[in-house]
């Protein structure tokens, strides 16, 4: 994960399906303001929706912190989702397609990872889960980093 400090633009609660809609709206606006193209906006908002739903359904609710990043010419948006839920016992398995503990299709975590440029996850059983993703505006091509 790139070590970039940025300015936190918002911290949104994730407590209900209405909050999920707010998160989507916020991410859409922030991405549009940063100059993301329509496809990248759509990917980022979709990833945010998946991760926010994980926070709500599996983490029992939590929050997302949105940060605007600027490193030289590149601009990006970092979204940090966190909850104090039961945690994920087997992260590798949870990242694979088809794994589900809820009523979904099991695409949430792994699918969200494919939609963003950088992805990191930290989860401790009994303490909670933190998932951070970063998307950069198109510019210099960046390798897809998958760190944990």
């Amino acid at each position: 994960m790139t070590d970039t400090s940025g300015r936190v633009t918002a911290c949104l609660p994730i407590r209900s399906d209405m909050d999920l809609a707010w998160v989507r709206q916020h991410v859409r606006q922030a991405a549009a303001q940063l100059g993301f193209g329509l496809v990248d906006q759509t990917k980022l908002v979709t990833a945010a929706s998946e991760l926010a739903r994980n926070t709500l359904v599996h983490g029992g609710g939590g929050q997302v912190e949105s940060t605007v990043l600027e490193t030289g010419a590149a601009r990006g948006l970092r979204l940090a989702f966190s909850d104090q839920g039961p945690g994920i016992p087997d992260i590798e398995r949870a990242l694979g397609d088809g794994y589900t503990s809820g009523g979904g299709l099991g695409l949430g975590l792994g699918g969200a990872r494919r939609l963003v440029h950088e992805f990191s996850i930290d989860s401790r059983p009994g303490e909670g889960t933190a998932v951070t993703v970063i998307c950069w505006t198109a510019g210099a091509p960046r390798p897809r980093e998958e760190s944990r």
Binding site: D17, M18, L20, A21, R24, Q25, R28, L38, V39, Q41, T42, K43, V45, T46, S49, E50, R53, D97, G104, L105, L107, G108, G110, G111, A112, R114, L115
Partner: protein
Amino acid sequence: MSAPIAGSSGTQVPVLKLGTVLLVTLQGDLYDEAAEQLQRNIGEAIAASSVTGVVIDISGVEIVDSFLGRVFAEVAAHAKLLAAQTVVAGMRPAVAITLVELGLTLPGLRTALNAEEAMRLLSPASTPLHHSPARQESP
């Protein structure tokens, strides 16, 4: 005749019955609960009035995540058991690109470029020659 289906969030999803086809037009952001309510209402509407086709127009939908994708797939599955075909119409290109990367390719769900094309697909008069039944649905 039209009967708007009210979502619990206050979102109203217009549902229009055109002949034997139910035209459901989704607009903007749908709350999870409203999507699930819609799913139940479509099933009831099919059973109550001899509907043979359902068109879900999503040209006004900016994002489809795995939750909404699952709702579409379940509506289609319910409709099929009630002897009705479902076509999802008007998906935006950015949404299609995102769904493929997400891994949600929705096999078994028929699609059309727009609602008009979807209505034509479902009309009894449409010639099945151009739309081979073999590739319309997979289990």
